[in-house]
Amino acid sequence: MTSPPAKPAAPRRFPLGSLLYAAAAAGAVALAATTPLNGYLLNILMQAATYSVAVIGLTVVLGLCGQINLAQAAFFGLGAYAVGLGTVDAGISFWLCLPVGMLLAAGLGAVLGASTLRLGGHYLAMVTISFQQILTLVLTNWIPVTHGPDGVPGIRRPPLFADGQSYLALCVAVLALVGYAVWRMPKTRLGRAMRAVRDNELAAGVAGINVYRTKVAAFALGALLAGLGGGLFAGGFTYISPDQFSFAESVVFLTMALLGGVGSPVGAVIGTGLLILIPEWLRFLKEIPGLYLAIYGLAVILIVVFMPDGIWGFLGDQVRRLRRRRPAPPPAGDLVLEQAAGTGAPVLEVEELSKHFGGLKAVDAVSFAVARGGIHALIGPNGSGKTTTLNVLSGLYTPTGGRVRLEGRDITHRSPHARAAAGIGRTFQNIRLFRSMSALENVVIGAERPDNALVARDRAALEARAREALAFVGLEGRADEPVASFSYGHQRLIEIARALAGNPVLLLLDEPAAGLNSSEKNALTVLLRRMAAKGLTILIIDHDMTLVSDVANHITVLNFGRRIADGLTAGVLREPAVIEAYLGEAEGPATGLKTDLAPA
């Protein structure tokens, strides 16, 4: 293993944003501590600050990771009851109760997530509702412990913050810290992983992200923040009862997050503040019971339909347009793809691999081996099982039978991200990029592949690596643009760059030429050759026989899920069975497939 070549350090940006944030936060804390507030304002601000912390928890789960959680009030309640019961019944210090409540919430969040996050979607919505309902029932009925519906009165605040204003200042300070952490989170490894999972679970998995663990982490983190908010809430109001943590509250939390914008902690604070204040402005509506809430329900629909990113998402777009462009980074270096010394053993060995869907044998006892270096093509007519094979190889499907070995290691039963860690990279026929990210961020996720020994784990190194990969496919100049602004052909190149940045042992390309025009196809051919020239091992499937015969030095042919030919390119293309499979029996066996490859 050689160390990566030294790169000039990227210019560090002056952390203006962070400094401004710190100043604003300090100002807010000072203001909270010193401005004389009447009881009403104090209560409303206390509520806003503590709720905001919980809503920021939703920013993590829902905004960053895209998982719905309709039990945020339950986690909020866990934190609150930990502080309530801890300080009142057990006489434990507030400072001990608060983290206990947070851990309790995070632990239950993790368990809840771990047991159901594989299902996702509607199921997750239902399970979180169930948890919410059960917790409410327990809080109400387990009277010896929870005091039941009477609630817990006389909760004690910590000695230093016993007075309302100083306690509010504490809440605001915590809110500021939490807000900062979540604001910076998208740029961290975990945050990027969450966004990748949200944007495209499958692609995240094959890029080496442990999708399941990322989701559980997001869920636990969201619950942790809810617990923190709840603990502060209990101290703030000094009385809690089960009905404050009901399902209805969870819906309120969710609406607060959505209204403000689920993508940013700022949105969370805006949403929370508005939903606590709006009723103030709409006083006149309250004369008729129900009218206010009817309008509220209507507003939820309108927000979802017309302002999908919430208020802050909407404002943020305007701000981003005004922002100065960053200074250009230094020119990227040459992409290094490092391959283990050739031992002569095949990189990939597939033995008797089968995948059945019910009675359909999509892949039926297929065996082949991919030698190190060069391009191996897997071809076959539509429905021959090519893509299924690829999906089994990258771990998206569990095989019905057979074995897969990568560099001699059995990876048959590994998950997609574990295979990525072992060195399999892949692209998809229908491009799967992380749509909310820039080209660079997409490729950084590729570079972050676990066990990618080539890149240090700091941001500068990762970005440098990603730029190299983008430069390799010719898109370095547009690295910071969002992927949605790229043409279809360029998006495919970004996907390839994402895989390359991870320095894969084996690269699986799923119909890379699909949807490309002829000049793009030519460019792709050149690119494939350049990749092969770097010693990379590639397994490609494609319909385009010209492309395949152009670049591949070895071909395996499938038909109806079975291998019908395997060997060097020129030989395989002349085999009668192959010709028959492609052209039917009408064509004479001697014609051969039309390629511009001269017969060997």
Binding site: H122, Y123, I288, I301, F428
Partner: protein, 291 residues
């Protein structure tokens, strides 16, 4: 023994209500891949409409039912246009939230128009019910069970033996393919919403005499019906029926033999067990995203 029979009857009666509402869930889920969190409010709105027509205005019961179901059809259509249609190309998340918004809207609009007092809707039959041996059979519950069975039969006939039913099935299985075959997909989805709203309405009219007419009545039933849907296997009609009945029976026996205050927890505990052990439900197939 008579105790068990009595509980069984009650459980099946309550379960039929869940099943009826669950049926509406399943239809919309199959057609539009949407979980409609406002399904319970359909029942609530229908019950209030009945109170307006049959009690306040004193019109004949059958006419009130017709008018109410007509109103529900209209509501279903408006719901589709306002809550689902604008979001049809987005992911499930905005749609869930939008239907939650709709449920808040419907409940509170009713509150604003009608006030918070619970109302009484007289049952269809005069007598309360009769004793069969030691078991009391509530006539309204008998009616609920009968109507649920009839609707299931109707639905089976409709989907399997009519052209419109087959088109609906095609739409729910593969919208793109259905569109290619010339089936008006948007129209079919509209029809599904209308039918689901009517189903929810029937459930509301039937339970109103038993549970009284209140703003909250829909939400409590809907949560259970939703759980029933998942237990039965999302998107499966038979599953919704079996899931609903099972839930009603489990809940009633759980209350009788384990704990009354925790009665509502049983539904959710069963649900969670199912989700962990058999997430595809009793009848459903595991759904996987295709690469």
């Amino acid at each position: 023994m008579d105790l068990i029979l009595q509980l069984l009857f009650t459980g099946i009666g309550i379960g039929s209500v869940y099943a009826l509402v669950a049926l509406g869930f399943v239809l919309i889920f199959r057609a539009a891949n949407v979980v409609n969190f406002a399904q319970g409010e359909f029942s609530m709105v229908a019950a209030f409409l009945m109170v307006v027509f049959a009690v306040d205005l004193g019109w004949p019961y059958w006419l009130s039912i017709l008018l109410t179901l007509g109103g529900m059809a209209l509501l279903g259509a408006l719901f589709n246009l306002g809550v689902y249609y604008p979001l049809r190309h987005r992911t499930y998340l905005p749609v869930i939230i939008s239907t939650i918004g709709a449920s808040i809207f419907l409940a509170n609009t009713t509150l604003a128009l009608y006030g918070p007092q619970p109302q009484v809707l007289p049952p269809v039959f005069e007598g309360q019910g009769f004793l069969v041996g030691p078991v009391f059979l509530d006539s309204q519950y008998l009616l609920i069970i009968a109507v649920t069975a009839a609707l299931v039969a109707f639905q089976y006939w409709f989907f399997e033996h009519t052209l419109v039913g087959k088109k609906l099935q095609a739409t729910s299985q593969d919208k793109e393919m259905a569109a290619l075959l010339g089936i008006p997909v948007a129209g079919m989805i509209m029809l599904t919403f209308v039918y689901s709203a009517v189903l929810g309405g029937i459930a509301g009219i039937l339970v109103a005499p038993v549970l009284f007419v209140s703003i909250q009545m829909g939400a409590t039933i809907a949560l259970k019906a939703f759980a029933a849907t998942i237990i039965g296997g999302f998107g499966d009609v038979a599953g919704a029926i079996v899931g609903g009945l099972a839930l009603g029976v489990i809940e009633t026996f759980g209350a009788a033999y384990v704990s009354v205050p925790y009665k509502d927890a049983f539904a959710f505990i069963v649900l969670v067990i199912f989700l962990v052990l058999r997430p595809q439900g009793l009848f459903g197939e595991r759904v996987a995203e295709k690469a």
